[in-house]
């Protein structure tokens, strides 16, 4: 049933010709919560200006930040740079009280890419994807599971999900890929 190997080995998961789904390598992930008034101090510590608009992103080096809510940011960072991020945020804690929680092990990510990428996502995502611009991201739903969706390009998305939901979401994406592949090969037309 589960499409993921027990050790979550990165690599291709499903492919339809017009869209491919692949599991991404592990990365450092953090949930940052802070008051908007403390953003300047934290931006300096992190080394990236925290985006203030929900859905907006910013990145410098290996640090990538998405604003999820008025006081919440999703921070990705290379695993090797994660300790430095933790240290730098801790150093400004007295000036800018915040919560920086390591959620690296909580989530896995897949990349969904190809001309039918958005079409595949509509299988479980109620959002109008045309309203998420390239270079933005949102927290939303994928067939009942909360996910963070990053739009890297017109036809390129990343989906972060809790690892316990990943088998369900990935199985759905696999089914979708199979359906799209069948449509392409004309099999869909032959269905009764």
């Amino acid at each position: 049933m589960t499409a993921l190997t027990p050790d979550f080995t990165p690599g291709p998961l499903a492919e339809s010709g017009a869209v491919s789904v692949s599991l991404l390598a592990p990365t450092g992930r953090f949930s940052l919560r802070a008051r908007a008034t403390d953003m300047p101090v934290l931006s300096k510590a992190v080394g990236v200006d925290l985006p203030a608009k929900i859905g907006a992103r910013a990145n410098i080096g290996t640090v990538e930040i998405l604003c999820l809510g008025p006081d919440e940011w999703h921070v990705l960072v290379a695993e090797t740079d994660a300790p430095r991020l933790v240290e730098r945020c801790a150093s400004v804690y007295a000036d800018a009280p915040h919560s920086l929680t390591d959620i690296s092990d909580r989530e896995v990510s897949v990349r969904i890419e190809g001309p039918e990428a958005a079409e595949l996502l509509t299988l479980g995502c109620p959002r109008d994807l045309d309203r998420i611009a390239e270079g933005e991201g949102r927290r939303t739903l994928m067939d009942g599971a909360t996910v963070v969706l990053w739009r890297d390009g017109k036809d390129s998305f990343r989906l972060d999900m809790w690892r316990s939901f990943a088998p369900h979401v990935v199985a759905l994406l696999e089914t979708g890929c199979a359906e799209l592949a069948a449509e392409q090969s004309g099999l869909a037309n032959r269905r009764p």
Binding site: G69, P70, E72, P126, R127, R139, T140, L141
Partner: protein, 100 residues
């Protein structure tokens, strides 16, 4: 499906991302121990159960995560307005006029 405007995201989004959270503007009594059983019961359980415009809480659960308030007509299921938590209760007559 209902479309709900989140006052924090400033976007109108599918209902699936939201969770209903009961009637709005019900403040927890400052001194529960000073209340009679009847008063405490009323605070806990008695709601207006409005037919028509209803002040209610929603949460953008699968989104920005914020609680906010809304006025929804329970007859038509139409949202008259949504507004941030902590903002005062909007004037109902002007909302109704605007909706007509």
């Amino acid at each position: 499906m209902l479309l709900v405007h989140c006052p924090y995201c400033e976007e109108t989004l599918p209902e699936l991302e939201f969770a209903y959270a009961g009637e709005a503007h019900i403040a927890r009594p400052a001194e529960p121990s000073a209340m009679s059983d009847e008063e405490w019961r009323d605070y806990l359980f008695i709601r207006s159960n409005a037919r028509g415009p209803h002040f209610e809480r929603w949460r953008h659960l699968h989104g920005c995560g914020r609680f906010f308030n809304a006025v929804r007509d329970t007859v038509t299921d139409r949202f008259l307005i949504t507004y941030k938590a902590g903002e005062p209760r909007p004037d109902l007559s002007s909302l109704k006029e605007a909706a007509e």
